[in-house]
């Protein structure tokens, strides 16, 4: 079983001389704001890559647009910084063509739940083998503080000067409401051990692993998540032999803990819908859900001669020979 302490302090000396170190997964220097929650997520995925010894050339981070979506630039792997909302269909195209690649998607609440919402629902349904990290800071950061679909009602922003008009969209509940879901988890940037463990389990899940991460935006919503950080009533830690296991030091920080079997979708939905007490952990996991790439014929390994023969047979069907 995965050891969270090891993730917190990975011992590079354990690795072979030939192996990849954390440095191999560093790209250009992060340009995120000081204390931005994205930095914790970046560190977590870099640690994952080093831990799992993923070949950088076989790993692709795909993103859309927004603060979250700058992450691929800060990785030492291949990256595809695409268009606003379109990370998921790009990632699907990559995965169908190249099942050998490790595909990660980093997206934000605007990118995933607003402009790309259609793709989000369908990506869940395709259930392709990839890890999707939703950096949910509940605000548009890159465009400078506009209300997002996950902003709480009443949030004052540049486009909601009198407070957000609507109740927020709940990404966990929405995802758990879809058919063909296979992995849903919730993490927060300020508990790195749990974040790392969840991302690791997400990576090892076969299918689309959807990880929603509460991510702090110190610039535009400096105290926004303080209630969750300070008030032990506001979160419930989900642990289970089949889910998250945490060391006591971490567990002690949570007043509310629940043994939650990730196979129990009904309870997962109840937990997701409780906005008074936000769950932290793995809500749902089902490794037996059909993956799209399993039922689509691979495009590899057909010789050109075989292709030509197959096409010649097709041409035969449409051929008109001159009358004899």
């Amino acid at each position: 079983m995965f050891d969270p302490i090891k993730v917190l302090s990975p011992s590079v000396s354990d690795l072979d001389d030939e192996a990849y170190s954390l440095d191999d997964f560093e790209g250009v220097d992060s340009r995120w704001c000081h204390r931005c929650g994205n930095n914790a997520i970046l560190t977590a995925v870099q640690k994952l890559c080093a831990e799992e010894q993923l070949a950088p050339e076989k790993t692709v981070f795909v993103s859309g647009i927004g603060c979250s979506s700058r992450l691929p630039h800060y990785m030492g792997t291949y990256g595809f910084h695409a268009l606003h909302g379109r990370a998921l269909p790009v990632a699907e195209g990559i995965k169908i063509r190249r099942p050998d690649l490790h595909v990660f998607v980093t997206t934000g609440d605007g990118d995933c739940c607003s402009i790309g919402a259609g793709h989000w629902l369908h990506a869940i349904r395709y259930n392709m083998n990839m890890t999707v990290l939703l950096h949910d800071n509940q605000i548009y950061g890159l465009t400078k503080k506009q209300v997002s679909p996950t902003s709480p009602r009443g949030l004052v922003s540049n486009t909601s000067p009198h407070g957000a008009h609507l109740e927020p969209l709940n990404p966990l509940a929405a995802t758990l409401g879809m058919s063909n879901i296979s992995f849903v988890a919730h993490a927060v940037d300020w508990v790195p051990s749990v974040l790392c463990d969840i991302i690791k389990q997400a990576f090892h899940h076969r299918g689309l692993a959807f990880v929603c991460i509460m991510q702090r935006c110190p610039n535009y919503l400096p105290d926004h998540f303080e209630e969750y950080i300070k008030d032990p009533e506001r979160m419930v830690l989900l642990t289970h032999a089949q889910g998250l296991q945490v060391e006591d030091a971490v567990a002690k920080r949570f007043k509310h803990r629940e043994e939650h079997d990730p196979r129990d979708i009904d309870r997962a939905r109840e937990l997701a819908n409780n906005r008074e007490r936000v769950p932290l952990g793995i809500l749902y996991r089902n490794p037996d859900v059909l993956c799209y790439e399993d039922v689509r014929a691979g495009v590899e390994h057909m010789s050109v001669s075989d292709k030509i023969s197959a096409l010649e047979r097709e041409f035969d069907k449409f051929t008109v020979q001159p009358a004899s």
Binding site: F80, V90, I96, R98, H119, V299, L311, F318, T319, P322
Partner: protein, 636 residues
Amino acid sequence: MNDSTALSELNHEQSSPVVAGEPQVQRLRDHVIEIISDSGEGAQKCGQSFASIAAKSGHGIWTVEIIPAEIEPPARSIEGASGNRIRVGSFDVANGGDEADLVVALNEQVLLGRVRAGALKTGCIILLETKWRHHQDPSIVAAYTSTHDKLVADGYRVYEIPMEQVCLQHTSTPQRGKNMFVLGMLNRLYGQDLKLAREQVAFTFRSKSADIVDRNYKLLEAGYDWVGDNLDLRFEIPSAKREQAQIVVSGNTSLALGIMASGMEICAMYPITPATSASHYLSEMFESVGGLVHQAEDEIAACAFAIGASYAGKCAVTITSGPGMALKQELIGLATMAEIPLVIVNVQRGGPSTGLPTKVEQGDLLQAIFGTHGDAPRVVLAAATIEDCFYLPITARKIAEAFNLPVVLLTDANLATAQQPFARPRLRKDWFAAPVDQSAIPEGEAPYDWDRTTGLHRRFTPGQPGGMHTLTGLAHDRKSRVAYDPATNEEGLRHRSLKLAAFQKTLTLPEVYGDVDGDLLVIGWGSTKGVIEEAVEQLRAEGQAVASLHLTYLQPMASGIGDIMKHYRQVMTVEMNWGDRVDDELIDMENRRYSSLAWLLRARYLVDVDCWTEVQGQPLKPRSVARAIRNKLTRG
């Protein structure tokens, strides 16, 4: 072409009983035939079969589907005409021709629909199912007789034929077998070999039981004999003996075959008319040649999926029609910016907005070239024939991969469903893309090492050690790092644009059709080629000094087009997109909105290019184009 040989062969091969006093055979250069019925009566199958028989006997053919807008229009409705138009000629027919010369109609209402659509020539021969005259519903009898009488009064040559009554002798379900009776009729009328017709019937019903095949033979022969015994009409269109095997497919099937032969392996699409039938055929066949069709959740996702697949492997394709093309534009910009090969096929239909979903227009040329924000150079080419629909995807894939950019291939609703035989292609190994490059990138090489002259660079694909970088739609430097500084931004723009210039140097000038100098040069693009050339031929036969030039490459255009234009007193484009009419009161030289190609030619060559356009959702007719050319020559 040796007409007399063809004629004697036909006579020789007719083995059916000949009635005393076989009527006079009228020799024709070509004829336009329509077979129309309610949906589900098999007029399509009849038309396609007749066209195949004509192609086998060496005729040129061009078929057009007649499709009602609704899936199941009510029976006997004016808007419900379903069927086929076949132009048969003694030459290589390259367009659907003018109005119909002969129509077979299974009820008078669908016929009325075609009359109102202006589809019939004055004095057109009509072979009309007569069962409605004896129908138990008096309102149907009244509708039939009044329509019949009106058509006769208007000068149409109407022959009433008891099709169902005769078919009942051979089948208990004449509604389903009548189409083969009609096929037999047409074979006799046009002196086609009954043996070829029997072969065609056997092919059409190859998956059916021997009983069904046999019944259809009987119906075929019944139609053949009925004309022999009862009609005094006979036509003969001389044909040339062909040595070569030909492919008879629609433009969309041809396109799908071309995609499979191009080595592209992934097609991502979203259902849209009239592009979808290409994806139907691809969905059925692609996996057998190692590819797959992905039906995405929307047009945007389809384009993004194709871009992802291209980025990680070989060039992929997305197929759409106008509205879908509009939705993909932002992603086409991404493919341009990040320099990812991509083929976008746009089977054009009438626009803007939902427009005319099933009907033809050439309204997307400018959106194909310019349709995204910023400067997004891409290659745009257009298919002129069904054969082009096969070969151009192969070319498009090669251009996209060689120059790392999006290539837009334009076809249209006219080509999508039309059939025209072309020589069976000889498949070549070099059409298929090379395997995905997974070799290590030498140290020091950058993902955008633009060549200063051509703008070209080597693309890095995931899996290549040492090539790691983050591809981005943001302005970036040679290492693909986000860069907002002025010089780097211009460097990227310059190199992406230079690639188009480099590609343009590889283009050869298309040949002028007709005189190399004269009074008028007509310039066209896309599916109008056959029509324009036929019209030019007519005008030349009338002694006019006209010629035409047809462009496959619209962006960039080959060098030398400006020089060609200088050899003519006037230049005019003929297109199926809107151009303001100079006769309209408010239109003058300051505000006239020209048709798409005319805009482009005027802008590039500073030549006063005029335009004649028709945007009626129908393929152009040679007669209309000839009239337009005549007017231009007179008016100046």
